[in-house]
């Protein structure tokens, strides 16, 4: 049974409220009085991003050979437990065409939009997670969720384009509260019921949305675009509420833990090692309980402020200021930070892979796109960004490969991801990064 919300709400404005007047929970019960749901639909495939600033050290991360039997490298060591469940991409090109190389920005923007940005700190289109969310998130309570382990809500690389970034939850506690605080109805419990409040709030949103035509009048073009975004957000909220009227289908056996303690979240590596696994765990639980299907986690900004207490330089300055060790041929302290960050990435994969559901784990039913801003931070190089795609996308993505130095634009990864996620994209990216050919060998 499908409920036409508009039909229900129409009554509101005639002051009649015939439908609302009914004990309307009945709408959601079948003839035996049991809550509708459990339609036997397959689990949705989920999408995650992981952002880390400053890239890696080429000599230490790129496996010597491509294909399946590559030898694990020093900097990939933390990811070794998941090598069979992920793909490693090296040698990807980031052609910026006529745009400047906005340091610590252009590379990240290229990876996540397939477009060379024309402005720093802004993306020229929706980011890939939002493009995918537009297709896969219908029916989930949150269209997407972003979290920033270093405590800054601005460290979000999920955006509607232009200045409108989606803010990140900046502590495990705030992430928990958003996901599992007020308004959360636990689908792991037997007594799940739709909340009557939700329908009432829908009628309020409907009244707000009815302002549209009036408000849009007399706005200049730029303001009209902004107001259009506002009303799109109203619409998203309506959909979000509609989703809350249906019991999420879940296969994972999980219990929602108690709220995490309030803690200091900043760029200190020691604190990141505490906040990252907590946030990753909450994200994984949100996916497993279908609160959201898109989860974005960042551990730093592109100009990573990560520091190990006692190091006066910190990660970013070290990349620029540490001399190359003549014997080693690279910057040793930078290399250590690189590994530290890969360990944080591994923590996300660990949590996703740690939740069994159906015939696999949440990771198996997801894709995780890990990207960064520079390939060689010391000189702000972007060609050869280290990119990882983990998870099997419910069997649609083959994993375990090192896709080595084929000189494709980085956007080819984005297109491949879209296909694996079931997004019918024929083409992705712009200018020299416009691609039509995904990595078909990786798709099943």
């Amino acid at each position: 049974m499908r409920i036409d919300r508009r039909f229900l709400l129409r009554g509101t404005f005639q002051g009649a409220l015939a439908v609302m007047g009914l004990p309307f929970l009945d709408c959601f019960l079948d003839s035996k009085g049991e809550v509708l749901g459990a339609t036997g639909r397959p689990l949705p495939t989920r999408f995650n991003t992981f952002f880390y600033g400053l890239g890696l050290t080429n000599q230490l991360w790129i496996p010597k050979t491509g294909g399946k039997d590559y030898e694990i490298t020093t900097q990939l060591k933390p990811l070794e437990p998941y090598r069979a469940k992920m793909n490693v991409f090296s040698g990807l090109r980031v052609p910026l065409d006529d745009n400047p190389n906005y340091q610590h920005w252009s590379g990240a923007a290229a990876a996540v939009t397939g477009i060379s940005p024309t402005k720093t700190q802004e993306f020229n289109s929706k980011t890939i997670d939002q493009q995918i969310a537009d297709v896969i998130s219908r029916g989930a309570r949150f269209k997407s969720i972003s979290a920033a382990a270093a405590g800054d809500p601005k460290q979000s690389y999920s955006s509607l384009g232009g200045p409108n970034a989606i803010p990140a939850e900046a502590s495990p506690l705030s992430l928990y509260t958003r996901l599992f605080g007020p308004g959360f109805q636990d689908p792991t419990k037997g007594d799940w019921k739709p909340d009557p409040q939700v329908m009432i709030q829908q009628s309020v949103l409907s009244a707000v949305a009815d302002n549209r035509r009036r408000v849009m009048q007399n706005l200049g073009a730029a303001d009209r675009t902004r107001m259009d975004q506002y009303f799109t957000s109203v619409r998203e909220a309506e959909l979000q509420m509609a989703a809350q009227l249906q019991r999420p289908e879940i296969q994972a056996k999980v219990t929602i833990p108690a709220a995490p303690p309030d803690m200091v979240c900043n760029s200190s590596l020691l604190n990141l090692r505490k906040s990252t696994p907590l946030m990753a765990r909450l994200g994984a639980l949100a996916l497993a309980t279908d609160q959201t299907r898109v989860f974005n986690l960042s551990v730093s900004e592109p100009t990573s402020a990560i520091f190990m207490p006692g190091d006066p330089l910190g990660y970013h300055n070290t990349t620029h200021e540490e001399p190359i060790d003549p014997a080693l041929g690279y910057q040793p302290r930078v290399a250590q930070y690189n590994v530290d960050v890969m360990e944080l990435f591994a923590l996300l994969l660990k949590e996703l892979d740690g939740i069994p559901e159906g015939d696999g784990t949440v990771l198996d039913h997801s894709l995780v796109f890990a990207f960064t801003d520079q390939s060689y931070a010391r000189i702000h190089a972007v060609d050869g960004l280290p990119i990882f795609v983990a998870g099997g996308a419910s069997g649609r993505m083959k994993t375990g490969y090192h896709v080595a130095g084929d000189s494709s634009p980085v956007s080819r990864v984005g297109l491949t991801i879209q296909r694996a996620m079931g997004v019918p994209a024929e083409v992705w990216g712009k200018g020299s990064m416009e691609v039509r050919q995904p990595y078909t060998d990786l798709l099943t």
Partner: protein
């Protein structure tokens, strides 16, 4: 059209419903455009995250306002609490709606909210439940979460803001909040369109102690003090630093600025040289001062030999523009150029090898020596020669703002030369900025851009020429600048509205 900031939202709710109404929720972060967050309110929209927050806050506020405790304050009592009462609902919603929308509601707007309330009051058998949702619908409407500015013909080919938009702009500038009853009434009567009527209201707003709130918000924005919320310091190298010190340092700077600008009616150039400040216990620890005072905040004047001079030598500015474990002359220099001189520094060229520049274990021991290595590179030198001398003169203070005279065993040289003028240390820098006409001109530019939500880099100097003249003539008094600016004949001018061409997708 400007999106309400977090502070504007909170202040407006407090003024409309009273301070007892709690506002719980998170706001979307802002970005800086031309050095001001205020300018981003003219470009940012509301993302689904932001709207989710607005809708939750709206309901939470509406629950409180229609709750048992608050009801006595509402302007009417329903005939029966279990039934709709459209007359009473309309009275309540039009009263609060007028404050929320900063203009009277149209009859259609009232009717729509009353209908919503009516239906829900009926289905819930509860007048106040219905009222809750009607009020909630106003609290999340675009007319509240955005400050709409409406232009009307102003004679000839000119257009100008309508009276309500004028009242709104004045009120958020001066008080950082929604117009009060008297100001809305002045708008209603057309008084804000006459010079005398405008002056009367401007004087009233400016003599109120609430001007402090408005100007605090301005200085917080201009001085980028919000950045401080995410500044972290290395806990091993600087164990003394704490979030308490950070919050106090921010407060110290705001108090200094407000005291000079409003309470002392002082010369704003003195912001660069004054040794007068305000301290509390945790700040005294940061400044390595004994703390003899009893009160939480006490006025304090640094001694002449302290090396302190103006707000640039306060812990906030010194710590904000530094690294977690180290001071940064470049960050400090770039910040001074940007914040006080309106000369933003372009980003460094992308392909630069910095590794020679800053190796403390190599032969270049001090930051100065390492920075000077930039001068060998032409493309670096063009910018670093501007910003570095400023930052180097502040090297007598470490990353948490403590005084120091040695770095890695070598005395720190805090001399600098800018535009042929040689000076030494923070006092020299303070005096240099005090005497540089670019600084007060930049301050006027920022106030103007802040109040109009415009990119300060795109505002032409002629737009605030008259205001600047009054500012200078008064000996750089903030009040003269504000008054002259908002009473300027062009301050409320607006571009002509674009004829309606709503695209099919927007229908």
């Amino acid at each position: 059209m400007r999106r309400l900031t977090q502070q504007e939202y909170r202040n407006s709710i407090a003024d409309i419903f009273g301070k007892e109404i709690e506002v719980r929720g998170s706001f979307e972060p802002m970005i800086r455009v031309g050095g001001l967050q205020a300018a981003s309110t003219s470009v940012l929209s509301v993302t689904p995250f932001g709207f989710e927050s607005f809708t939750n806050m709206a309901d939470s506020i509406a629950i409180q306002v229609t709750g048992e405790k608050y009801r006595a304050k509402l302007p009417c009592v329903p005939k029966a609490t279990k039934e709709p009462d459209d007359a009473c609902t309309a009275q309540i919603l039009s009263q609060y709606g007028r404050m929320l929308y900063r203009r009277p509601l149209t009859s259609d707007e009232i009717q729509s909210a009353v209908n919503l309330s009516h239906g829900l009051a009926e289905s819930q058998s509860d007048f106040y439940a219905g009222l809750r949702y009607g009020l909630g619908s106003l609290l999340q409407a675009p007319d509240f979460v955005f400050r709409m500015e409406t232009a009307v013909p102003a004679g000839g080919m000119q257009w100008a803001l309508d009276p309500y938009s004028r009242a709104t702009r004045l009120s958020y500038l001066m008080w950082d909040s929604t117009p009060d009853e008297e100001l809305i009434q002045a708008a209603e009567k057309g008084e804000l369109n006459t010079a005398a009527g405008l002056e009367k209201q401007v004087d009233r707003l400016m003599t109120s102690p609430r001007l402090d709130i408005g100007m605090r918000t301005f200085f917080n924005d201009m001085l980028e003090l919000d950045t401080f919320d995410t500044v972290s310091k290395d806990s091993i190298l600087y164990p003394k630093w704490s979030s308490g010190i950070a919050a106090s340092a921010k407060e110290e700077t705001l108090r200094t600025a407000i005291d000079l600008a409003l309470h002392e009616n002082g010369d704003m150039r003195d912001l660069m040289t004054t040794r007068k400040t305000f301290l509390n216990r945790s700040l005294a620890a940061d400044y390595q001062l004994p703390f003899p005072f009893k009160g939480e905040w006490m006025p304090y004047e640094f001694p002449a030999d302290s090396g302190r001079s103006g707000i640039l030598t306060q812990a906030s500015m010194l710590a904000m523009f530094s690294h977690p474990g180290r001071s940064s002359p470049t960050k400090r220099g770039v910040a001074v150029m940007d914040i006080f001189l309106c000369e933003p520094t372009p980003p460094p060229p992308a392909n630069v090898d910095f590794s020679v520049v800053n190796n403390t274990s190599g032969p270049l021991k001090t930051v100065r020596e390492r920075l000077m290595a930039h001068a060998t590179n032409g493309s670096c030198a063009s910018c670093h020669n501007h910003s570095d001398p400023i930052g180097l003169s502040l090297e007598g203070f470490d990353t948490i703002g403590q005084r120091r005279i040695m770095e890695n065993g070598i005395p720190i040289d805090v001399s600098a030369t800018i535009k042929g003028k040689h000076f030494v240390g923070a006092e020299g820098l303070g005096q240099f900025l005090h005497d540089d006409p670019k600084y007060p001109a930049c301050l006027a530019r920022k106030v103007y851009s802040y109040s109009r939500g415009e990119n300060s880099e795109e505002v032409s100097a002629s737009a605030f020429k008259a205001a600047y003249k009054s500012f200078a003539d008064s000996g750089f008094r903030m009040r003269s600048l504000l008054k002259a600016m908002v009473e300027d004949k062009d301050y409320f001018s607006a571009p002509a509205p674009i004829p309606e061409t709503i695209s099919p997708s927007a229908q």
